[in-house]
C-alpha cells in the first residue's frame, strides 16, 4: 500500500530513494515512500485521535509534536499522512505535503558528527531539497513508541474512511527527481 510500491530503483546511472517530503513547523521531513501508506485531507481524518483505513487503525498525532515542536496554530494546506514500518503504524498531521521526490543515494548525507545524541537514530541523514534541506526520517523511529506520551486515543469513535486519497480531488502530487536523471 506504500506510494508507488517501491523505494529503491535505478534511475539513469544511480540508485535512488523515493521519498515523500512534508513540512511540519520549521522542519522539512522526508519519509521513505515504502513507509507512507496514505495521505488524507484533514477533514477525512476527523478530529478523533485515530483514523481507520482499510481495516487498519492509525493513531494520529501532530508530526511537529513528534519532532519536539509545538504544532503550528494554522497551516495553509494541511494533510494527514499514514505511515507504517515493521508492523507499527501512525498517522501524522503535517502542515503541507511538498511532493514525492527521488534522491540518488549518493546525494543522501549523514548528519554531521556534531549531532551526537538520540537524533542520530531519529534521522538517517539529510539531502539538499530545492533551496533548503530535508531531513530523512528513520521510519522505525517515526512510527515506533513515543516516550513523550503521545499515547493513542481509544479506538471508540475512530473515524473510518473507505480509501486513502493521495490528495484532494483534482490535485496531483508531482514526482520530481532531485540530482538524478528521470526514469524513462
Amino acid at each position: 500500500m506504500s506510494l508507488r510500491g517501491q523505494t529503491k530503483f535505478v534511475a539513469g546511472a544511480g540508485v535512488t530513494e523515493r521519498m515523500l517530503v512534508v513540512t511540519s513547523g520549521p522542519v522539512n521531513l522526508a519519509i521513505s515512500a515504502t513507509a507512507v501508506e496514505g495521505i488524507l485531507p484533514p477533514e477525512e481524518a476527523g478530529l478523533a485521535g485515530t483514523v481507520t483505513v482499510r481495516e487498519i487503525t492509525y493513531p494520529v498525532t501532530d508530526l511537529a509534536r513528534r519532532l519536539g515542536y509545538a504544532p503550528a496554530a494554522s497551516a495553509n494546506d494541511p494533510r494527514v499522512i499514514l505511515c507504517g514500518s515493521r508492523g507499527f503504524r501512525r498517522g501524522f498531521r503535517v502542515d503541507q505535503v511538498l511532493g514525492l521526490t527521488e534522491v540518488e543515494i549518493r546525494h543522501l548525507r549523514p548528519l554531521p558528527p556534531h549531532f551526537a545524541a538520540e537524533e542520530r537514530t531519529w534521522f538517517k541523514g539529510y539531502f539538499l531539497y530545492h533551496e533548503g534541506i530535508a531531513l530523512w526520517a528513520n521510519p522505525d523511529w517515526l512510527v515506533g513508541d513515543d516516550p513523550a506520551g503521545e499515547s493513542p486515543e481509544p479506538l471508540v469513535g475512530a473515524t473510518r474512511v473507505v480509501e486513502a486519497h493521495a490528495s484532494r480531488p483534482g490535485e496531483v502530487i508531482e514526482l520530481e527527481v532531485v540530482n538524478a536523471e528521470r526514469t524513462k
Binding site: P26, L67, Y69, P112, H114, F115, A116, F123, I133
Partner: protein, 133 residues
C-alpha cells in the same frame, strides 16, 4: 578575531575560524545534543549550527546577522553572531590570563580596548559554562 553576540564582545583565535559570511538562515533539526540544533546551507555546503548565543543566554542582535564558521575538532560549524563585522586584533601572549571562573570553553581572557574579553576554544566548544556555587 573579536566578534559580538547580544552586544557582548567575545574573541577567538584566528586559527580556529574558517570564515565569516552573511547568515542565510537555518533549518532546525530536532536534537538532544546541547546547542547543536540546526543545519545551515550555503550552496552545496551544509554546516551544523552551534547555538553559542543560547549557550551564553544571549540573543543575537541586528537585522542582518553574520555567520562565523568555527573550526571544531570534528568539523566546521556555523555560529550566528551579531550583525557587527568582526575585527582582527593582535594580543601579546603576555597579556593573556586564565578566566576568572574555570570554563572548558574559554582558553584565556584578555583586555582589548580596556574591555575584558574571553577567548573561546572553538576546537572543542561543546559544553555549557561551568557554574560554581
Amino acid at each position: 578575531m573579536v566578534f559580538s553576540i547580544g552586544g557582548s564582545m567575545l574573541a577567538a583565535r584566528t586559527k580556529d575560524v574558517a570564515g565569516v559570511r552573511p547568515w542565510t538562515g537555518a533549518m532546525q533539526v530536532p536534537s538532544r545534543t546541547p546547542y547543536v540544533n540546526a543545519l545551515v546551507r550555503n550552496g552545496e555546503d551544509v554546516l551544523p549550527v552551534f547555538d553559542l548565543a543560547g549557550m551564553l543566554n544571549l540573543r543575537v542582535q541586528g537585522d542582518t546577522p553574520m555567520c562565523l564558521i568555527a573550526k571544531r575538532q570534528d568539523g566546521p560549524m556555523a555560529i550566528c553572531i551579531d550583525a557587527t563585522i568582526p575585527t582582527l586584533t593582535t594580543v601579546e601572549s603576555t597579556a593573556l590570563y586564565p578566566p576568572a571562573q574555570p570554563d572548558p570553553n574559554i582558553l584565556w581572557q584578555c583586555q582589548i580596548d580596556g574591555i575584558a574579553m574571553p577567548i573561546y576554544a572553538f576546537s572543542n566548544l561543546a559544553t555549557p559554562p561551568v557554574t560554581t556555587s
